[in-house]
Amino acid sequence: MKRYAPLLTVASVAALGLALLMVNVNGDPAPRQEVAAAAPVADPAPTTALAPGPAPEPVVEEPAVTPPAIAEIAYAGRSSGNEVTVAIAVKDGRAVAYVCDGKKIEAWLDGTLEGDQLSLRGADGAAVTGTVDEAKSLGSVSVAGKQWPYAAKGVQAPEGLYEGRSGVDEVAERIGWIVLDGTQVGVRNAGGNLGPAPRLDPEDLDGVTVDGVRFSVTAVTGDDQVVGR
């Protein structure tokens, strides 16, 4: 028994590591699974054809998911009293959003677009619900314990939502920018400390450096993963 103690130590370390990894992976919103779930909706025939022959009947009908009204689009706008700025990106039924006030409030959200109904959630009760069409998205946004109606219009680059991450540093820094009507609003989150974001040049996303830290900045699309749970 004693002789195998070192192996037990290795096994415990491996078990703890794998368990924590599983917790992380399962806590992940897992865009891959959502995409996989969305695919059969678009084209159900191959799925049925691939289903194993012997047991076709126990296949439970998936809850009817309305196909998204719009495949890919981005919206940006503001709450009714200009309290917060809202940006929403949609792609293939998945939606992500960023809400911020440019100073101390921000939230990253993700969810779905079913038909023309948007439904997104984020940490600490943040939520965006609304409707979309080709030109605009109207609805309500909840963040930091408050709720406002919002109106956002369909936008094209360089307007839209941008995310910067400094993944190379153990101090996780993240910046969200919303570019709209020639202005921009953003919040920088440096390991939990929130503050106004530095200015972003949406035409030049390469080599963004903030306080000597390199950020990789991308224009966010609806299938990006922005929320960790």
Partner: protein, 214 residues
């Protein structure tokens, strides 16, 4: 990071003069379950090979897997990073205990006789140390991955992968009492070096940039 208990240590210390004969000598001195003589270097080779595979595997995972940038954080700390920094600091303190107790066991402090509990202290502090590092490493690998953006980050990534390989190799060597007598101190020293380097490139860096935050 455990060291064999005293009755296993004794045979390692005895075959001092002829290093090549160490495996047979320790085999004969081993009271119970004599391992085959060839386990000496072969066992070490196996251990180092497995350890290398672990290191490379971790590095490949950290590189190939897209950094999620999120991970479940630990309650009670202001941020996941602070939690990591303090867990790693705990491991760092324990690894100092590791080196101290190992030096006592190997008689490196003149006049200090190894007390009977030193082996237990070494084993359990080692287990605690490596377990403390696991949440940190999982967060690093899952949320950040293997990165090379700056020398500090590259060093940290390399040592992080190396650490677990060396750990596995050392555990496997411990499991083979016939291994060359230098193998344990070398692997233990490698572990100590790696952990100190990891601590310097992460926790100390964090404390100097963000202050001593919890």
């Amino acid at each position: 990071m455990t060291i064999p208990k005293p009755e296993q240590r004794a045979p390692i210390a005895t075959p001092f003069a002829p290093p090549p004969a160490s495996s047979s000598a320790s085999t004969s001195a081993s009271s119970s379950e004599p391992p085959p003589a060839r386990t000496g270097t072969a066992g070490l080779l196996v251990a180092v090979t497995v350890g290398t595979l672990v290191s490379v595997g971790l590095g490949v995972y950290g590189r190939a897997h897209e950094a999620a940038f999120f991970a479940v954080s630990i309650a009670g700390f202001s941020s996941g990073t602070a939690a990591k920094a303090w867990l790693a600091t705990g491991a760092f303190v324990l690894v100092l205990v590791q080196v101290g107790s190992a030096m006592v066991m190997y008689g490196r402090f003149p006049g200090v006789r190894a007390p009977s509990w030193i082996g237990g202290l070494h084993r359990w502090s080692g287990r605690a140390a490596v377990l403390l590092t696991v949440p940190v490493a999982v967060h690093c690998l899952y949320a950040l991955g293997f990165q090379d953006g700056s020398p500090r980050v590259l060093l940290h990534s390399l040592f992080g992968c190396f650490f677990y390989g060396a750990f596995v190799a050392k555990m496997l060597v411990l499991n083979r009492p016939g291994s060359p007598r230098w193998s344990l101190p070398v692997l233990g020293g490698a572990l100590f070096t790696a952990l100190v380097a990891l601590w310097l490139t992460s926790s100390l860096w964090f404390f100097t940039t963000s202050g001593l935050t919890f």
